[in-house]
């Protein structure tokens, strides 16, 4: 965990929030603060981290999150990382979030430079509610509200996209960003996931 390489801003964030508290087998749900005034309950020992990736694999760079999810599936055992890839973030994912203490949302970004990777912490927030599509803060809020637990650590990882036309191939700079994004996810899992215990 000491060797985890995080972007400077995240490393600061981590320093401010500390590593996850140690847990013991059989320990029941615990209480902690996410640093934003939201009380969150732990899920007990051993819950794998959760990777929620969304996108459309038939619309070029929009599918980058799904490609990252596919690659992560090969790299991480299910006991360490549960992966859900879907066209969009939907309310029932709240139940999945309630079962983990580390959530990683992965998506393409239309507003960043192609291939640019941005990672930022995310906290529950209800201001972005839609009908059957939610963004990560709203999903976190739903998990908190309905299931009584939101992950203590959650990050949104976005990859700047260039092309949203028809096709399954990523554009060059986005394709080159995929291995970097996977390394970043690995670092986040190492720093904040089960192995941090």
């Amino acid at each position: 965990m000491q060797n985890a390489i995080l972007p400077p801003a995240l490393a600061l964030w981590r320093a401010g929030h500390g590593a996850r508290p140690a847990r013991h087998p059989g320990q029941a749900a615990e209480q902690a603060s996410d640093g934003n005034g939201t009380t969150v309950s732990g899920t007990g020992v051993g819950a794998p981290a959760l990777l929620l990736a969304c996108g459309n694999s038939l619309r070029q760079d929009d599918g980058v999150g799904l490609q990252i999810a596919g690659a992560a599936e090969q790299l991480f055992p299910a006991s360490r990382l549960r992966i859900i890839a879907a066209p969009q973030f939907t309310p029932e994912m709240a139940a999945e979030l309630a079962a983990t203490d580390l959530a990683l949302f992965v998506d393409a970004s239309a507003s960043d430079e192609p291939g640019a990777i941005r990672v930022r912490p995310v906290a529950p927030c209800t201001e972005s509610a839609e009908t059957h599509r939610l963004d990560p803060p709203a999903l976190m809020a739903l998990a908190q509200q309905l299931c009584g637990h939101a992950p203590a650590r959650a990050f949104v990882v976005t990859i700047g996209a260039q092309s949203f036309g028809y096709g399954e191939d990523l554009s060059g700079r986005v394709r080159q960003a995929v291995p970097r994004a996977i390394r970043l996810l690995g670092n986040l899992i190492t720093a904040f996931g089960n192995s941090a215990i």
Binding site: P91, A95, T126, T131, H132, A141, Q145
Partner: protein, 474 residues
Amino acid sequence: MSRTIVIDPVTRLEGHGKITLQLDEAGIVQDATFHVTQLRGFEKFCEGRPFYEMPNITARVCGICPVSHLIASSKACDAILAVQIPPVAADLRRILNLAQLIQSHALSFFYLSSPDLLLGMDANPEERSILHVAHTHPQIGADGVALRQFGQRIIEMLAGKRIHPGWTVPGGVNEPLSEEKRDQILALIPPAVTAIQRTLLWFKDAIQKFSAEIEVFANFPTLFMGLIDDRGLAEYYDGHLRVIDSEGNIIAGELDPARYQEFIGEAVEPYTYMKFPYYRPLGYPGGTYRVGPLARLNLAGRCDTPLADQEWRAFRNLSPRPLLSSFYYHYARLIEMLYATEKIEALLADRGILDKHVRATASVNNLEGVGVAEAPRGTLIHHYKVDENGLITWANLIIATGHNNGAMNRGILQAARHYVQGDQVKEGMLNRVEAVVRTFDPCLSCSTHAMGRMPLSIELRAADGSLVREVRRG
């Protein structure tokens, strides 16, 4: 001066649609049309592809109903192979289909319609969302989330992933069920049954508040069509098609789904890409029928599982004849979720469900194949023709939402005549007209194979077509 009101898009549907209300000179709604102005292309671009690719290609029609397309498409491919698939493969497909029904009905009832049912049709549109339901009615919100997840977890466990799974293939399925997964699914059943029963208890009480909506939400005589088994009970994977009239008379008892073209015609209207299927012997529009949960529970002898049968009896006791108001689709969805959960449990309880022989293999033995199953929204038909090399030469898909098109249009007209008067377009009116469409839970992505997006507005138009007033949201 006659005027036109346009609702564009209709919100909380799968896909995007637009409603036009034509007013006469006295401000009375004269006509209503539901437009689906999206391009349908799957049948055309499938031409030339090997038939065995069709399940995975057509599953891409929709992100909500991929399993339904997988099932119907695989059945059409079975017919091209001319094989009888192993019984365990059929049962595994049944489980997958029922899990799809659960997750889709949960989405429709809890995510899309419960804000109307819990918060009222006149509630602030900003508050009519699942997040607000979670705040005001946390138990119902939690049950909705849990039930959608329940259906999706079963799909994921059987088929490897929850969206666009590829487990169902021509000739059967490509992997048997393990004992471990069976036990994992069985463990999910009891809390799901409890959640559905809790919701039914609430809904049966709450429905009394909606007598006005029941009266005018597509409440008129039509035919009803759906699959039944050999005993006349509800069937979702196989069986015969039954057609009943609004009095409950069986006017066609054992139609062979593979011969659908003999009894289903498809009319076309210029304002929409969605066709208007009709029961051919009665012509168009007289042969307009409804499919889906309400139709299935109206025409079946019963459901065939203990708890669902109890609920079915209470449902049917509401009227000596078939229930005609589409508002009852909501109620029927809950009963079907209960049935599906019980049926999955019963199928998994059979030791044979772990059988390892799950796929029959053959080459092309028929140049044509039809696959029919009950999707959450109603009867789904896939029909392919191939050449001797198995390449698709022609394809036709009739989607559940399409079957309901005629009834949806008439339902919009009925509700609009009741709620819309003059050019005073109020939010509650707008939402009630939309809510009629939502009772059918139309999947416009499926029924038109969507491309593009439309925004929501109501427009008042003069007889010459000029815009008098516009209300836009969404």
